[in-house]
């Protein structure tokens, strides 16, 4: 008998069931999973997703800027970098390389982020109003390290892609992608720790700053 069989058998015996797990029992579990039942929601989850998203970002110390169109992003980025006395260079996702970064005076590197990069630039699959959360998916053109290694993570968020709850975000993910990618990454503010004397310090192993640029 394998460890697997022994563990499953012990569960069966302890649960007063005989034999191995039956096909009917598995069908039952799958049917219950397929219902994708949602739990009770707090009333905050029913607020306007965009306004809730902005106020929750503020609470999490994610800064938010808003521009009129995607074409205005490079200038908004340049002004953010200047304001924070950061170098005018970012490493970003390939999907963003088409923008006219050079005109705004920003060097845009389209490659995988490394430990020397100071600013990483991504967009996101969607965002969640209830908690001010960005949802990023891994993929060939969307490596996760851009949002992790640099001290500053800048994320372009489309207002149309801000959903109310995490349940809505997962629903959208199933609709558009079918299955989960290798990494589904939900980011709520810059990295932090309170491991020394329960004192919150912003900037642990991930970014010190998360900055959202909202586009229509």
């Amino acid at each position: 008998m394998s460890a697997r069989d022994n563990i499953l058998n012990r569960i069966r015996t302890q649960s007063q069931r005989t034999g191995v797990t039956s096909a009917e029992e598995l069908v039952d579990v799958r049917a219950h999973i397929a219902e994708r039942a949602r739990g009770p929601l707090p009333s905050t989850a029913r607020e306007n997703p965009l306004t809730r998203f902005i106020s929750e970002c503020e609470r999490l110390k994610t800064s938010v800027d808003s521009v009129a169109s995607l074409n205005d992003v490079p200038l908004a980025l340049a002004s953010y970098l200047r304001k924070n006395t950061l170098k005018m260079a970012v490493v970003g996702w390939p999907s963003l390389s088409a923008q006219n970064w050079a005109e705004a005076g920003v060097r845009f590197d389209n490659r995988l982020a490394n430990a020397n990069d100071m600013v990483g630039m991504t967009d996101c699959f969607c965002a969640i109003g209830e908690t001010g959360t960005l949802l990023l998916l891994s993929g060939a053109d969307t490596p996760k390290l851009h949002a992790l290694l640099p001290e500053t993570h800048i994320c372009i968020v489309s207002q149309k892609r801000i959903v109310a709850t995490m349940e809505d975000a997962f629903q959208l993910l199933r609709q558009e992608k079918g299955t989960l990618p290798r990494a589904t990454f939900l980011v709520s503010g810059p990295s932090r720790t309170a491991d020394i004397e329960q004192t919150i310090v912003i900037g642990a192993h991930g970014p010190y700053r998360v900055h959202v640029i909202l586009v229509p």
Partner: protein, 472 residues
Amino acid sequence: MQIQSMHFKQTASQKLNDAVLQTAMKKAKGKFVDGRAAAVAEVDAWQDIRTYAAAMRDRVIANLDAYLIEFERNAIARGAVVHWAETAEEANAIIVNIAKQNLVKTVTKSKSMVSEEIALNDALEAANIEVVETDLGEYILQLAHEPPSHIVAPAVHKSKEQVADLFAAAHGRPRSTDITALTREAREVLRDKFLNADMGISGANFVIAETGTTLTVTNEGNADLVTTIPRIHCVVTGIEKVIGTLEDFATLIRLLPRSATGQSAANYLTLTTGVKSADELDGPEQMHIVLIDAGRTKLVGSNMAEMLRCIRCGACMNHCPVYQNVGGHAYGWVYPGPMGSVLTPAYIGIEKAGDLPNAATFCGECQVVCPVKIPLPDLMRKWRERQFDGALRPWHERASIKLWSAFATRPRLYALAAQVAARTAAILGGKQKRITWLPGLDGWTDGRDMPAPAGKTFREQYREQHRDSAIK
């Protein structure tokens, strides 16, 4: 982790006289308790969500075999290798073997209490593999060669001065007691470890049957680096962590960070599903998931099965007056506080952990704050009953409980004994009407006096007053 639970009483006494610990615990108590209260107050459906979550966890635990099989099927479909381990030794052997087969020299780890349970670091080091803890609290404890004292904030017992000493000795940099500088120092020192590790080991807050996903809930970003950069990702977790769907996760994550640290959202929720595809630039080539029993199946179907609902938030210990005063190390194993007082006897045996279910005032606060409504005081009482039935408590304690029950179940005898006791205690109290010494209880009366009773029992006084009012 080495079991020290049998020394609870002795260690607890030492901890009460440990000035650094007492300062640390007082600081932490306010932050955890007030933080949780504020975060919970924002969620008007809190009680409904708790009830729903408890039922959701119960449903899975009642069909644990089927949920695990479904999880395994979906994880395998995405390229993960699923291993099963009945014991800590088996789990360690599996992980060491994966490391050896892949010529792994260095491992980065994100915080995992299950790995503390099985003493995974010792097993890897014995095989000459370097292991680096990357959660700041766990890293501090690795330098100090100490076990965690809290499941969420493992180094809660350490002062910044102690951390400064550890860092100065280990890093050879100038000593600083500034918390921001210490955090930065750990970031800088650990960066190279993250980038050069061959294997990343993480725990899992939950594993999702629907998708074959394992996931971590963190704030520092270390779990993300650990599960993204190395070529092998190994997940070590308990079989009870399985949940049904992404929606179930969405419900539980409304409860977990609020209960744990008073946060409305944890910084990073990282759902990992299988291995990287050929065209991806980052992510592991191999994913191994080690599902561990190590005592959990003993709770399935038992009268303590509710304990398997636990989502490891730590609220029960944060709100426990015993934990708040003695800290986590006194409990002598991985899981302190009320949840530990139920789990530890189940996992390592009641004969080694007998004091733990008794280390409670039964104030009931742990049950009130538990996000999945585990009746912790009830479960601790069940352990006490088992200890009594199994003759596992000292003879004098069992004798006095037997004696008590002999009186308590015979009303006339009880009334008579109460009369004798009340008269004697009144005499003992003397003119001051304070009892300063009781035979056999000098440990109690050394530190405190007790007001002496009036000399008559409640029943006698009631009877007298009733007679008086009847005459009028």
